[in-house]
């Protein structure tokens, strides 16, 4: 599992690569939370494009970030949900809570301008 951080405007983009299971979820959580604290920002885009696997531990870790960001007054969205991950996000009903976008540009536009999300389902 690899995590890449990119700061775009005052929004943290988190690009995940590899397999997001319980083993990696804890490390992802710590890395993201400490990066948010370091930059003193509170809005997040998760780019899931590089994930080849995710189970319910990944769902839990994403929901955990979502709750934390909302509690701090920020917003969080997802983008680039790849085929191996789309089935579990659908069954978990993740899109009912967290907006999904095609790519980082659309996600960024939504967070900066409040454009409406292009839901996948």
């Amino acid at each position: 599992m690899e995590i890449e951080f990119v700061l775009r405007h005052s929004i943290l983009v988190v690009r995940l690569k590899g397999e997001l299971d319980h083993h990696w979820a804890g490390q992802m959580r710590e890395a993201v939370d400490s990066e948010l604290a370091r930059l003193r920002i509170c809005s997040l885009i998760f780019n899931l494009g590089g994930l080849t696997f995710m189970d319910s531990s990944g769902i839990g870790a994403l929901l955990g970030r979502y709750r934390r960001v909302c509690a701090a007054g920020g917003r969080m969205v997802l983008c680039k949900v790849p085929p191996p991950v789309s089935k579990i996000t659908e069954i978990a009903g993740l899109a009912r809570l967290i907006p999904f976008f095609e790519d980082e540009a659309a996600a960024l536009q939504h967070l900066l301008l409040g454009a409406s999300p292009t839901r996948r389902s």
Partner: protein, 144 residues
């Protein structure tokens, strides 16, 4: 081709073994020529059961997890067994969104995912003795 075969794997309840268990399950079922989606479903379901044994059954200690799998015709069956704390209220445990560990970012979706990704799921558990999760899935024969 033989129409029935089995394997049994014993691993420790360490989180590095989640990925290992997935690879083993996928490699074992591969001789039925499953689709990418069927492999992904099986990997996910096995990952859920093994993760539960690591987090819930053994909590802070290292115990043994036994993964037994069978192929009978086109049916893949896998059993994930632990000798951990067990489950007191099985019905409640299987409810979507129920988790006994919300503080760990658990989603409570494990059993729901196993049910959705496999054809059949049965759970046997005895408090203080352990839990056995059995799942099976029909691999559809390819038309070639």
């Amino acid at each position: 081709m033989s129409s029935s075969t089995f394997m049994k794997l014993e691993i420790e309840s360490r989180s590095e073994n989640e990925a290992f268990a997935r690879v083993v399950a996928a490699a074992f079922v591969s001789r039925l020529d499953p689709t990418l989606e069927e492999i992904s479903d099986i990997k996910t379901a096995v990952s859920e059961a093994v993760t539960n044994a690591i987090i819930h059954a053994y909590e802070d200690r290292i115990g043994v997890i036994v993964i037994s799998a069978r192929l009978e015709g086109n049916r893949f069956t896998v059993e994930v067994a632990d000798e951990g704390v067990g489950i007191i209220d099985l019905e409640k445990a299987r409810e979507p969104l129920y988790t006994s560990k919300p503080e760990l970012d658990r989603s409570g979706m494990g059993f729901t995912i196993m049910e959705n990704f496999m054809d059949e799921l049965t759970v046997r558990s005895a408090p203080g003795e352990g839990t056995v999760v059995t799942m099976s899935k029909e691999i559809r024969p390819k038309i070639s």
